[in-house]
Amino acid sequence: MRKNYGKLYTAPVLLWLTVFFVIPGLIIVVFSFLKKGLYGGVVWKFSMEAYRALFQPAFLKVVLVTVYISVVSTFLTLLLSIPVAYFIARSKAKNILLLLIIIPFWTNFLIRIFAWIAILGNNGFLNHFFISIGLFPDYIQLLYNQYAVILVTVYTNLPYAILPLYVNVEKFDFSLLEAARDLGATKSQAIFRIFLPNIKVGIITAIIFTFIPALGSYAIPQLVGGADSYMVGNIIARELTINRNWPLASSMSVILTLVTTVAILFFVNMKPGRTMTRTAVQAKAKV
């Protein structure tokens, strides 16, 4: 018998995740049930106060805004990514186009956000352009609002949506669209009834890759957002650093993690698709 070293191989990863993920996670959960220290830190006394504090309308509103921004930006990202993935998959210059998608990663994430500030700012490129062609008499406020947050989130997430979509579109048999047309479908019926259902796995992966990080956004709303676009990540940071309420920051983190986990479970369960579940049911029925 060959010895199975599988478990041994996973040890480094297991160790890494335990030290840097599980233990900190547990610390957060524990902190969320403690009392706040006077100058930050925690007092080792059980308390539910941090959770009670969450039921303030202000926090619930931030949660809603977070979900809203995440949903809208995910939707827009998908809307833009599907045609792009389709185009790349059908193009002859696939490799070059894929490279172009990846090129933004060569620049640091924060620098790319600052580039957007340079474009959208009151003295930025766009406003300069609008004023110089006489479109507007004075600058318009493009930055520090929800729109800027959504725009930059979509921009950041595009590669993460395009790549998994591309992988699925590339496998798609385009003669199916011709078959659908042949059988009487219009172009849009062929897209909605045949193309999209067949790249479903790619769509769900793209949603997971864009929606989940959007829920946990911190840097983007911090740098280009305003009062209307405070997200949970920003509130957590504020509680931790300015208000020095570690238990509250922890309870918020716990809630965010729970919401994220539920979202992931939801999407992952969608992933095998009706097709597979139905087949499975059928297989069972036969037995």
Partner: protein, 371 residues
């Protein structure tokens, strides 16, 4: 279902510098099973895609029941295609695949059920309703594709090499099934293939294509027995070519002299003159082979007898195929059917000296060029 009459008029199409279709014209009558036969790359699939509406021709017209259909989108033509890879929708069950065209037409669930069930029976798929394409065998996929195309009640069904993905035995079986489905539904079938046996065994009429041109249109037997040129003769079945020069012209026959074979008698299938260079085709099954020199009671002048040596014999039970070498230059291929109990015969074998002979009626002049 009714079926339609289809006229193709002067169709041309180029991709870049290569002209894939050159002035194609032919007519398919209502209810016919018409095949388009040609080697790969001859333009037959392009022709089919133009009829289906997936490509536009550069020139020419397509008339369906005397109405020009070129301007119509693929979904408005009353034409359905069976694609080479079947193009079944992988995310839909067999039932839903077949129901697809009806759902597009917004039929009610009840109507859909009735129609789909009718075609499930026709295609013998009743036991596979809930399966998905990935769970089907090649032949089953094929039948789903056919049912899905027919449920739309097309006037013309286009089949693009529908059997090429199946193994030889299944191909035979599906061919018979296709033929019987054609008889059942009575619509026009246009069948594209590179396999001449497939085409011959099911077609009412067939067109032979090469390099973007239609060389001949006719019934399978016309094309087999009266090929218009050497390419058609060679592409449709096996044959022997003999080239020679006309030396004598009679009323119904002529004589040609062939280097290495001597003088042969030929039927005047077309007008010939002394001095013309001609190409003769003689099918392997029409040449006889004997060890003894044959003696002819009537019309001995009609027969060509050549002495040769057996180069190879391929015995396949019901027949043997002989390769007979004549004067080290000509290699004749011929087939002998074993109509008698083979073990009682003294079989002709390798290296035997033999006589091969045929009636000049049975050969055909495919090419004549005046000197």
């Amino acid at each position: 279902m009714k079926g339609s009459d289809l006229k193709i008029k002067n169709l041309s199409k180029s991709f870049g510098d290569t002209q894939v279709l050159k002035n194609i014209s032919f007519r398919v009558k209502k209810g016919e099973l018409f095949s388009i036969l040609g080697p790969s790359g001859c333009g037959k699939t392009t022709l089919l895609r133009i009829i289906g509406g997936f490509e536009d021709p550069d020139e020419g017209r397509i008339l369906m029941d005397n109405q020009d259909i070129l301007e119509l989108a693929p979904n408005k033509r009353g034409v359905n295609t069976i694609f080479q890879n079947y193009a079944l929708f992988p995310h839909l069950s067999v039932y839903e695949n077949i129901a697809f065209p009806l759902r597009i037409k917004k039929y009610t669930d009840g109507e859909i059920k009735e129609e789909v069930e009718r075609y499930l029976v026709l295609a013998r798929l009743q036991d596979h309703i809930r399966k998905y394409p990935s769970q089907l065998s090649g032949g089953q996929k094929q039948r789903v594709a056919i049912a899905r195309a027919l449920v739309n009640q097309p006037n013309i069904l286009l089949l693009d090499e529908p059997l090429s993905a199946l193994d030889a035995k299944l191909r035979q079986h599906m061919l018979i099934e296709l033929d019987s489905i054609h008889d059942d539904v009575g619509i026009t079938f246009i069948y594209v293939t590179h396999d001449q046996q497939e085409a011959m065994s099911v077609s009412d009429y067939m067109a032979v294509m090469n390099k973007g041109e239609i060389l001949q249109v006719g019934t399978p037997s016309e094309i087999y027995e009266k090929p218009v040129n050497a390419f058609v003769a060679d592409f449709i079945g096996e044959t022997n070519f003999i080239e020679g020069k006309v030396t004598e012209v009679g009323e119904t026959t002529g004589r040609i002299s062939v280097e290495g074979l001597g003088v042969l008698t030929v039927d005047k299938d077309c007008p010939i003159n002394v001095g013309d260079r001609v190409k003769l085709t003689i099918r392997p099954e029409k040449i006889r082979i004997t060890k003894k020199e044959p003696v002819f009671a009537t019309n001995p002048e009609q027969f060509n007898v050549i002495k040769g040596k057996v180069d190879e014999v391929i015995y396949t039970g019901f027949q043997s195929k002989f390769f007979v070498k004549v004067n080290a230059k000509y290699l004749f291929r011929l087939i002998k059917q074993h109509v008698k109990y083979y073990l009682d015969e003294a079989p002709i074998s390798w290296k035997d000296e033999v006589f091969i002979w045929w009636n000049c009626d049975d050969s055909y002049l495919v090419e004549v060029s005046a000197s």
